[in-house]
Amino acid sequence: MKPAIDVRGIVKKFGDFTAVDDISFSVQQGEIFGLLGPNGAGKSTLIRMLTTLLPPTAGTAEVDGIDVIKDPNGVRKVIGVIPQALTSDLELSVYENLLIFAKLYGVPREKRDSLIAGLLEQVELTKWANEQVKKLSGGMRRRVEIARGLVHHPRVLFLDEPTTGLDPVSRAAVWEMVRKLKEQHELTVLLTTHYMDEADNWCDRIAIVDHGHLMALDSPIRLKASIPGTNTIEASFEDAPADWHQQLESLAGVERVTGDANVARIATDNGPETTTALMMTAAEAGVRVLSLAVQSTTLDDVFVHYTGRQLRDALQEPSAADRSVMVNRGR
């Protein structure tokens, strides 16, 4: 079976800045594939190249077997795209938005109404069909976008940060909907997110992208298994001696220690045992433990492992999209 998406050595440069640097991967049909990374990692640039919105500087990609450079219009016919920005017309009703896009995609007249009615039901907006989009909440608007992206029965659905800006309940609802729609429409889904927990819960496979590079690619379980430790202990200390790091590294079960003398992040393959040893060693050394948390390894740990920094640090950097704007304005 041919892959739904096949990316080969794709590169995108904005002036001197390389937003996406020689990335290759394949997405199998029926997968929910997540591109995970902070703002500025190059996720949106990558998705824009795959959806024909940006021409690659080098390399190429095929979507449903169609080359994005040679036949962009062919690609546009088989993809549904839900961009990061809400792009529905606020003045138009939910139904009108879907109708316009059904026409843009060339959906035959006789099929339009039944198709739209079905989609509205699936995204639970039937009651709001004739309401202007501007009167809907953020979560509902996102659902309008999702329905709009499916109005022509695409084979591959692209979602660029579908849950950004939504409250936790709406986020969960959007994910539930994406999974349901994927089954009903036999879709392949490629999405970007910077929410680790969402990627962990909902994606079949994840590609971690940072600074335009593909850092790791696998299923969430395998990614977590690929890094040292099964648990992570986060602890902060007071009056820690100079060799405290070395002492922590020698504790039972410890595989890796990151952070500084006062705040440590300890990867261990035995959380309870390491915690007990840590408390005892701290008491002996006269180090006060200010806080302590033990958790199973998360994708956040995977991210730290592969990128050498935490996602929340990376979030502070300007995004590739911001940079492209800067480059454009500078021209």
């Binding site: 824009r48 959806t51 024909t52 919105l53 940006l54 021409p55 962009p72 219009n73 546009r76 016919k77 993809i79 795209v81 961009p83 920005a85 792009t87 529905s88 017309d89 896009f101 843009l104 995609y105 060339g106 709009r148 492209s324 454009n328």
Partner: protein, 371 residues
């Protein structure tokens, strides 16, 4: 008070970072000064007068010579020879001439007999400025003609000029109406044409339709046609209300209405195509706002909407030659003030159609299908 300063600081910082806006706000009054300064009150020149000589006698030839002298010197008008009065009057009605000087068959005989010879100046009086210049020039010409080479031994009855007006008197409000109809179309084009695309870009809405299989041509044609439909409605409203306010005689003649509709549609499409072309690479929504004032001045005043183009200096006449407003205003003047047929406005319609095609083609070439 420091909060007020915060607002002032914010606005000034933003202002400093919008060079286009600053440039346009400075350019605008200068453009107005220059364009308006030359648009009004200039001496009307380059008029075209059909000369129909039914006499061919020596005195008639003197009139030819005097006419040629005016063409060579003051250049108020250029005489064009016609053998047939009917053809000349047809061209006058269709707007190809500004006036016709008819020298009757008995002119020389009456001149030699000293029997008050007369010539007739039949003029297109729908433009009072043109009309006044023409009558002034011919009155001067006749005075020169009657100037004796030597003191006359007896007083003969001198040649006189009979001025014949083709149309009922046209008040200035009626004269302005065609320009206002074009302006109403342009105003709607400004808010409903290419600027919508610039707004979509600023709000990111264009990503939504750029990922659909729509072609550049389909997209631009869609924007232009929707803009043109809105502009046609504006044009129709202004034409109806304006005709009633200005007191245009017989404004609802069905044939005239049909011709007006054609001109409104063609004008709307030409202006909306021009606007999309101008906005096709613009990303900053402030740019259209900053440009419209300047654009308005450059298009409206040199078009002959408020003063005849024949009175403009060369550079402004060059603008008016390419300005789609000029052709639209001319066509509306023919229909509203003279109630002509398509014969008089064929060239205007052809120009506006070609203008639309060229503007659309360029816009399609320049349009970026990607972000």
């Amino acid at each position: 008070m420091h909060r007020t300063w915060a607002i002032i600081e914010r606005e000034l910082r933003r202002f400093r970072r919008s060079p286009t806006l600053i440039a346009m706000s400075l350019i605008m009054p200068i453009v107005q000064l220059v364009v308006l300064g030359y648009a009004f009150g200039g001496q009307v020149k380059h008029l075209k007068v059909g000369l129909v000589d039914q006499d061919h006698g020596v005195p008639a030839v003197r009139l030819h010579e005097l006419s040629n002298a005016v063409a060579a010197n003051a250049n108020t008008f250029t005489p064009l020879m016609y053998n047939d009065l009917g053809t000349a009057l047809g061209d006058l009605r269709n707007g190809h001439l500004n006036g016709v000087l008819a020298i009757p068959p008995d002119f020389s005989r009456r001149e030699l007999a000293g029997d008050a010879p007369r010539v007739a100046l039949i003029e297109d009086n729908t433009d009072n400025f043109v009309s006044a210049s023409l009558v002034g020039a011919y009155t001067g010409l006749m005075a020169a003609y009657n100037q004796p080479a030597a003191a006359p031994q007896r007083v003969a009855q001198q040649a006189t000029l009979d001025v014949v007006e083709m149309y009922p008197y046209v008040p200035y409000i009626q004269y302005l109406l065609p320009g206002s109809i074009v302006m109403s179309i342009f105003m709607m084009v400004m808010i409903g044409g290419g600027i919508i695309f610039v707004d979509d870009k600023a709000r990111g809405l264009h990503e939504g339709y750029l990922v659909t299989p729509i072609t550049r041509f389909e997209l631009i044609l869609g924007f232009n046609l929707s803009g043109a439909i809105k502009a046609v409605l504006a044009g129709l409203v202004l034409m109806t209300i304006g005709s009633l306010i200005a007191g245009v005689p017989n404004p609802f003649d069905p044939l005239r209405l049909m011709r007006l509709l054609v001109v409104i549609v063609v004008t709307a499409f030409a202006l909306v195509s021009m606007m999309f072309l101008l906005m096709v690479r613009v990303n900053d929504p402030l740019v259209p706002r900053a440009t419209f004032g300047v654009l308005n001045t450059f298009l409206y005043f040199p078009s002959g909407a408020v003063y005849p183009t024949q009175a403009f200096p060369g550079w402004m006449r060059a603008i008016s030659k390419i300005d789609p407003f000029t052709y639209a205003v001319h066509a509306f003047k023919c229909l509203v003030l003279k109630n002509t047929g398509f014969g008089a406005i064929g060239y205007d319609l052809l120009y506006l159609t070609l203008f639309s095609v060229i503007a659309m083609t360029l816009a399609v070439q320049l349009f970026r299908r990607t972000l």
